[in-house]
């Protein structure tokens, strides 16, 4: 149905966001500007989210052509189930971030640097998901990248921001360049830049391989696939917290969307080895991401690294889907893709929640280093509660939504022995082990994050004097925590909502889940596997309540408050508590010595010497040192060599131009 009503509403939302962005330029410096602009963004995003949800359930394809862009194609937009789902993710995250920013953004000292780009960034993400031809897509993609870059640079006076912005800009340009080439190859010699035309032609095996690699580079660098992730832990934390939440929770999902759109939709039927590439990358990304997170002390960088882990998880699901699809195991492919999409949705929720929490901590204490926090559960009880829910979800513990999607992914892994190719047979269990390892390490990581930040005793006066954050922020965090719980206890409804998307891609979908008795989820058959989050939640609640009641009846109910016992030897200072560094030490010894070349050096003063003993830990970022540092050195070497060209006389310039011309003419002559 061309020109449907949903896509019109969504386009109006984009247009109003762009208008808001323009209006933010004059309003940005005024005190009312913050509330006004974020309020407008929240309302528009909420409308967008509602429209996208309705469109997802209506499940029709709507197209719209605007007379913009290249004259012979115009700007094409399309709303189908896949884009509806991702528009829900984008606009849900955007609504949350906008409402949160109505409170959190008041502390911003230079709002004029944030407000216009914030609204424009939201519009950019919507446009990427809506676009239906390569030109519009790339333009929106670059618009999204540049506006987010501007947001990263908002606090440009902080020491690391310039570096972060520089690396981000380089990687984003590189990624867009790869996507540009990918679309170029897809469009072929005829230059069919519309997605519809690309879908029609079936590229040769070698062509599609090139496209796959280019898309993995282009979308993968935006999503944070190892080894293209280096910009992500620098750029995401540098932005204001609500923007960090958007970049980590939502923009990475737009990258996932780009991958799915091109590889699953435009590229035609997959070959079996695509699965191997994507699975291996996903597994490595997942483990490396969580290990980086475990060895990091800056709370926002921990969250950014954990995004890399979750992206790896999603890519494993997508890789499985590709492998199953190539071998025509339809029900397994459908399960894997559903798991990946469900995890993408879940991750956008709990990662936004945790970034909002870290923003609340940051504005309450001025600290991002966990080793300077502690005991915030007393000062910020509601923030702590919401963050605890987020940590449970991201650690994939039942009955949270993180567990539901992880469970589905494992179920998909368990279907893969049927795959005929040996490469897949050997790789899939290894990737399953990597996933299991990274899930367990993620739990360790978030025990560390929550325990060091919110529990224990305050390590600095800043943490001791913290105060609870504002009402807007709390409202958003608690709503997201509730969403985590709901998606965890009734995952069937969410899986059913994803079904039209999977139907659109694979022409099959998972069995209808919400009709199963007691709201269980049953991916294949009932005697194979089933999980019921609702009952698990009820059982947990009833058992905990029952034990509390029994104890109330039978036991002494007195509680005496006394000083800390600690085995009779209480630590004199809060600094003697376990720190983030020391908490990770055992895991660093196991995994860090090999993968990060972690070395510990103890400097013990001789007896009588009064200086303090020191323990120095050195970690090497192997990926940066082996890939990026040599690359940077090579570039700077070449530029240094070429630098002499800058200081030539006019005669030499002229002779250079002349010889270049002669060489080119010779080449042309020989070519003919």
């Amino acid at each position: 149905m061309p020109g449907g009503v949903h896509i019109l509403i969504l386009q109006c939302c984009v247009l109003s966001l762009l208008t808001t962005a323009v209006a933010a330029i004059p309003f940005g410096r005024r005190p009312v500007g913050t509330a006004l602009i974020y309020g407008a963004s929240a309302v528009i995003s909420a409308i967008g989210c509602a429209t996208a949800t309705i469109a997802l359930f209506a499940n029709q394809s709507e197209a719209l052509q605007l007379p913009l862009g290249l004259p012979w194609i115009g700007a094409n937009f399309r709303l189908d189930a896949l884009s509806s789902l991702f528009l829900v993710i984008v606009n849900l995250g955007a609504t949350g971030a906008s409402v949160y920013a109505m409170g959190h953004g008041r502390d911003e000292h230079a709002p004029q640097r944030v407000l216009p780009f914030f609204a424009a960034f939201l519009a950019g993400m919507n446009l990427v998901v809506l676009s239906d031809d390569a030109f519009t897509f790339l333009l929106s993609w670059e618009f999204m990248s540049l506006t987010s870059w501007a947001l990263v640079m908002a606090h440009h006076r902080q020491s690391d921001t310039a570096h972060a912005g520089y690396v981000y800009l380089l990687m984003a340009s590189f990624g867009t360049f790869a996507l540009l080439l990918a679309y170029g190859v897809l469009a072929g010699a005829a230059g069919n830049y519309g997605f519809e035309a690309m879908r029609m032609q079936h590229p040769a095996a070698i062509t599609s391989a090139v496209v796959l690699v280019l898309v993995l580079i282009g979308a993968g660098s935006k999503a944070g696939l190892v080894p293209l992730h280096v910009w992500l832990p620098l750029a995401h934390p540098a932005a204001p917290s609500h923007v960090s939440a958007l970049m980590s929770g939502v923009m990475t999902k737009v990258a996932i969307y780009a991958f799915i759109r091109i590889v699953f939709d435009l590229l035609g039927p997959p070959l079996w080895w695509w699965g191997i590439v994507v699975l291996a990358l996903g597994g490595i990304t997942s483990l490396m991401g969580v290990l980086y997170a475990l060895f990091e002390n800056d709370i926002k960088r921990v969250l950014a690294y954990s995004t890399i882990e979750n992206i790896g998880f999603i890519f494993v699901g997508l890789g499985l889907a590709l492998a199953f699809r190539a071998d025509h195991f339809e029900s397994a492919a459908v399960l894997a893709l559903t798991a990946a999409l469900f995890h993408a949705f879940n991750h956008s929720i709990f990662k936004s929640l945790l970034f909002f929490g870290s923003g609340a901590v940051l504005s309450a204490t001025g600290e991002r280093n966990m080793d300077k926090l502690g005991g915030l559960i007393h000062r910020m009880p509601l923030t702590a509660f919401a963050c605890l829910a987020g940590c449970i979800a991201i650690a994939a513990l039942p009955p949270s939504n993180g567990f539901a999607s992880e469970w589905l992914t494992f179920q998909a892994v368990l279907l893969s022995p049927e795959l005929p190719q040996w490469g897949l047979k050997l790789l899939v269990p290894a990737v399953g082990a990597l996933l299991a390892l990274s899930v367990a390490l993620a739990a360790a990581c978030f025990v560390r994050v929550f325990g060091i930040t919110f529990l224990g005793r305050a390590r600095t006066p800043a943490a001791a004097d913290a105060h609870e954050t504002d009402g807007y922020s709390l409202f958003v965090m608690l709503s997201l925590a509730t969403t985590c719980l709901i998606a965890g206890i009734v995952p069937g409804f969410f899986i059913d909502a994803i079904a039209p998307v999977v139907q659109g891609i694979f022409a099959h979908h998972m069995p209808h889940q919400s009709a199963v008795a007691w709201l269980s989820i049953v991916p294949i058959t009932k005697d194979r596997s089933s999980y019921n989050g609702l009952l698990i939640f009820l059982f947990l609640a009833v058992s905990a309540g029952l034990s509390a009641c029994v104890l109330r009846l039978l036991s002494s109910n007195r509680v005496r408050r006394v000083p800390i016992w600690d085995g009779g030897f209480p630590d004199p200072t809060p600094l003697m508590q376990y720190s983030a560094e020391s908490f990770a030490q055992p895991i660093r010894r196991i995994f860090g010595t090999l993968l990060f070349r972690a070395r510990e050096h103890i400097d013990m003063p001789s007896p009588g010497d009064m200086r303090p003993a020191r323990l120095d830990v050195k970690l090497v970022d192997v990926i940066w040192d082996t890939i990026y540092a040599p690359l940077a050195r090579a570039v700077s070497l070449i530029t240094k060599r070429l630098n002499i060209l800058q200081f030539l006389t006019i005669r030499r310039y002229l002779s250079l131009v002349f010889s270049a011309l002669v060489v080119l003419l010779l080449v042309v002559a020989i070519w003919r």
Binding site: I392, A430, A433, L437
Partner: protein, 318 residues
């Protein structure tokens, strides 16, 4: 009528595990003492300890938060729910479909997550050391457990524990290398998860070696009673899990006659007794290992589990 029987079996199972758990701990203590030629405490000592703890006041650190007070209930609930879903004397559990083996492992993960948080709540270095080591152990034990689940699930074609148990008594099982590997790995994981020798020593409070005891050092009164009960319950859970998968004989099938349930109960008691004897002898004969050798131990379990799963993946196409 069938539903009533199902309810009775499920309810009986829930009660059985909770009543039996302290008894198992008591028997283990007694047997270990006898092996050392000591008289040892009575087998009922653990019940008395729990009652004593319940009657005592809770002595709470000044800066303990609400989380510290809520955690014992969460740990107990998660462990109890997990234990209630593992077939002991009968397989046809009414609610076995609510959580498969992956979910049961994850439920235990939830309990551990909260216990590790509780260790850090008061802000002592003991609590920190316990939590830090606990998550280190878990970060290897949990993937090993998932790999074991993979092996079993690939063999039985299901992650549902009742289906796996039924498959294990059927003649389709045969002798499998993967099962052997999974059994060894599961035993290793069970030792680590329950803080037994050689990974941790349940009887000691020596600060350099303790893990579980360090986390619960600040607990007292009814909170401690719940945590202790949950720990016993977890030990029984692993016993039942190993029995249900690797010694599946005698377990009553779904909708069986009364005699079958009787046989099931007797068989279950025999299996638990056998396990307790083996564990007591093993613990008496083994020394605790250094904490930084634990990763090697658990790494071996993980590799065994992975090898078992890999063998099954590869052999499927032959």
């Amino acid at each position: 009528m069938a539903l009533a029987v199902d309810f009775a079996v499920q309810g009986g199972q829930m009660l059985l595990v909770i009543v039996l758990a302290p008894f198992l701990t008591g028997i283990l203590q007694k047997m270990k003492a006898r092996l050392l030629r000591r008289q040892g405490p009575s087998v009922l000592q653990h019940y008395r300890d729990l009652l004593k703890l319940m009657r005592k006041d809770v002595v709470l650190a000044e800066n303990a938060s609400w989380l510290f007070r809520a955690v014992p209930y969460v740990i107990f609930a998660a462990t109890w729910v997990a234990a209630a879903l593992i077939p002991t004397f009968a397989t046809g559990l009414l609610f076995s479909w609510t959580a498969d083996l992956i979910a049961i492992v994850a439920l235990l993960g939830t309990a551990r997550f909260f216990l590790a948080l509780a260790g850090m709540d008061v802000g002592t270095s003991f609590g920190g050391i316990g939590s830090s080591r606990e998550v280190m152990i878990a970060s290897l034990a949990e993937p090993a457990m998932i790999m074991i689940v993979f092996s079993l699930a690939l063999l039985a074609g299901s992650t549902q524990l009742s289906t796996i148990a039924q498959f294990m008594v059927s003649p389709a099982v045969g002798l499998r290398v993967s099962l052997g590997l999974a059994f060894i790995a599961l035993t290793m994981v069970g030792l680590a998860e329950n803080a037994r020798i050689p990974v941790d020593n349940p009887a000691t409070h020596l600060e350099l070696t303790m893990v579980h005891e360090a986390m619960v050092l600040e607990y007292s009164g009814r909170h401690l009673a719940l945590i202790e009960l949950a720990a016993s319950l977890k030990l029984l859970l692993y016993f039942s899990l190993i029995a249900c998968i690797f010694l599946p004989w005698g377990t009553a099938p779904p909708h069986a006659q009364w005699q079958a349930y009787g046989i099931g109960l007797a068989a279950y008691a025999a299996k638990i007794a056998l396990g307790a004897i083996v564990l007591a002898v093993f613990e008496t004969a083994t020394a605790k290992m250094r904490v930084f050798r634990v990763p090697t131990f658990l790494g071996a379990a993980l590799m065994l589990g992975l090898l078992g799963a890999l063998l099954l993946f590869v052999s499927r196409g032959l």
